[in-house]
């Protein structure tokens, strides 16, 4: 028993001392970090980055709140950035250590959830819009009418992704409201609209990439990255940005308060804001990154894709999901439950 205890103590201690120089602990979504990026970073700085995966913002938040996690950097979604900083789990960034901070594209510098970008730096972002096969439907694709007041050509051929936040928000915006609305009148319109439109949808399902590529569906509410892959497989598919409003998402990197490798973390943060490195992130996961000038280093097909680069005229209609109030979430869930029946 004595020996067992000693062995256990040694084991506990052995890896504990590993916070020596030259390592960095990144806590990120699974399958989201470009191995090429980490290799290049290690080659240039000698710092070895270890990535640990999580599968939801909630898991990441719970583990970091419990303390003693050993991570240096975390990559929460936009509506979680504020939660992390308000709870004091992350620290404001010392911008003097981040010369590349200036590379953040103007539209990503002053974001609602982090004004001035003092708490987080961009990792990747994307949008939720509508992929439409123009061989089937020739009308305007840049409106939520495509799926809420389904035109005859698309009846029984359009799919809607089963993502509560995005779908209810898109519908609310179509009927003149904002995401997280508590306005019962608008919400009622949104609910009625969704319920009336549903019989015209073929399904509420994932998998648009393959089902639209092989022509099973003629349209779908869908993510931009997936829509780009569909277009590459089937040239007649275009991606529409609803002018009434569509949702954006962004994941950003934050520095944890109890980070052990702070200097290394700053080096990494600065590193990923260099355009050529940000492009590596995008090339791996196929979403845009928010760093100006990175297009020059991206796969050419991505750098010019209308799904990745939002056309100027539609930029204003994109909104981020804020942190919704308890009440608005209740309404949203109620609408969603009714829609699922």
């Amino acid at each position: 028993m004595q020996r067992l205890l000693t062995a256990t103590a040694l084991l506990l201690a052995s890896t504990g001392l590993a916070s020596a120089e030259g390592v960095l602990q990144l806590y990120n979504w699974g399958n989201y970090t470009s191995p090429e990026l980490l290799e290049k970073f290690e080659k240039e700085t000698g710092i070895k980055v270890t990535v640990t995966d999580y599968d939801s913002n909630d898991t990441a938040l719970a583990k970091i709140e419990a303390g003693g996690h050993g991570f240096d950097l975390v990559v929460p979604s936009a509506n979680y950035v504020q939660i992390f900083s308000e709870k004091g789990l992350t620290v404001p960034l010392d911008l003097s250590k981040l010369p590349n901070h200036a590379n953040i594209a103007p539209e990503w510098k002053d974001v609602v959830w982090d004004p001035g970008r003092t708490n987080s730096v961009p990792w990747q972002w994307g949008s939720v819009g509508i992929a439409v096969d123009t061989e089937v439907y020739k009308g305007d694709v840049n409106t939520s009418a495509v799926w809420l007041e389904v035109p005859d050509e698309l009846k029984g051929k359009i799919n809607v992704v089963p993502e509560m936040n995005d779908i209810v928000s898109l519908a609310t915006m179509y009927y003149g409201g904002q995401p997280c609305s508590e306005d019962l009148e608008v919400l009622k319109k949104a609910r009625d609209g969704l319920l009336a439109a549903k019989p015209n949808w073929i399904s509420m399902d994932y998998g648009a990439t393959e089902k639209m590529s092989n022509g099973d569906w003629a349209a779908s509410v869908n993510w931009n990255g997936s829509s780009m892959r569909i277009r590459e497989a089937k040239g007649s598919v275009v991606y529409g940005y609803p002018k009434e409003g569509y949702t954006l998402w962004m994941d950003s990197v934050m520095l944890l308060k109890d980070a052990q490798n702070v200097e290394e973390a700053y080096k990494f943060l600065d590193f990923i804001m260099a355009p050529e490195n940000a492009a590596l992130i995008s090339n791996f996961a196929k979403y845009a990154n928010g760093i100006a000038g990175s297009e020059a280093f991206m796969d050419p097909a991505m750098a010019t894709a209308p799904e990745v680069v939002i056309p100027e005229e539609f930029k204003a209609a994109g909104v981020f999901m804020p942190v919704c109030s308890e009440k608005s979430r209740e309404y949203m869930t109620a609408i969603w439950t009714e829609l699922q029946k």
Binding site: T15, G16, S19, Q25, W29, V51, G67, H69, G70, F71
Partner: protein, 267 residues
């Protein structure tokens, strides 16, 4: 059919229900295995048969790291939990029935009763505190956590073996002036060995497959194979995950087969 003994197998619909149950159990697993050979990236579309995903998983450094870590944790956890379970089993069976016996059983089997998520959150909070205060990280926490929930899995087969064992053998050894330790070493333990090995293997498999507790307890750089797979969920799942799952399945089946061979009654 002179003698009609009751047998469940003769009840109407027995075969049908049994077949349906087997189908429900094995069809999903079979589907998973079949699609691990699919050349197409997306799961619904069948392309041609290929071993590419296995090659890809094999070459994936993250998968390799996670696998090694899983095996290390499972190995240590199996040894620790089996040692403790053997002691517990001896303590609860090699004696006359005593007051509070049931209570002790329940205590030992607690990890089987308490929802895993509760244990996971409790461990996360406790270990979080310890990690913050001591600054000591390392794989030890995961090993301890796994050892703890593996104890009942190791305990049950060992106890079953002990209960079928003749107490008089030990009395005979004592009559021949064998010391307690000698009796245990030369009589009890050899007879008990198949139970101990079976318990260890069951503990190993249970530790290898654990997701919930590991996800909550793991520190930086401590992904195991199951938590690595869980992490892949946000982006498109490729048949590489099927290939990894099939590998994990094979290890589990091998261990369970060995478990079965060791525990079956030799008449």
């Amino acid at each position: 059919m002179a003698e009609r003994r009751f047998s469940a197998t003769r009840l109407p619909g027995f075969a049908t229900i049994a077949m349906l149950a087997f189908l429900a159990l094995y069809i999903p697993i079979l589907t998973l295995v079949v699609y691990s050979f699919n050349s197409e990236v997306t799961m619904g579309n069948w392309g041609t048969a290929t071993l590419d995903w296995y090659a890809k998983a094999w070459a994936n450094a993250d998968v390799k790291d996670a696998t090694l870590r899983s095996l290390t944790i499972a190995g240590f956890a199996a040894v620790i939990s089996t040692a403790l379970a053997t002691m517990a089993a001896l303590g609860t069976t090699r004696r006359r029935a005593f007051k509070g016996q049931t209570f002790i059983y329940v205590m030992i089997n607690q990890p089987l009763m308490v929802p895993e998520i509760v244990t996971a959150v409790a461990l996360m909070i406790l270990f979080g505190l310890i990690k913050t205060v001591t600054g000591v990280h390392g794989l030890g926490y995961l090993i301890l956590a796994h050892a703890a929930f593996c104890i009942p899995f190791a305990y049950l087969p060992i106890r079953a073996r002990l209960e079928g064992m003749d107490l008089t053998l030990e009395t005979a050894a004592a009559d021949l002036y064998a010391s307690h330790w000698h009796t245990f070493r030369r009589v009890t333990l050899p007879i008990l060995m198949p139970g101990v090995i079976a318990g260890a293997m069951l503990a190993f498999v249970v530790s290898l497959d654990d997701v919930v507790i590991t996800e909550f307890v793991k520190s930086a750089g401590q992904d195991t194979l199951p938590t690595y797979m869980l992490g892949q969920m946000r982006r498109q799942l490729t048949p590489e995950i099927n290939a990894i799952s099939t590998g994990l399945l094979l290890v589990t089946i091998a261990m369970l087969t060995a478990f079965f061979l060791l525990t079956r009654k030799k008449d």
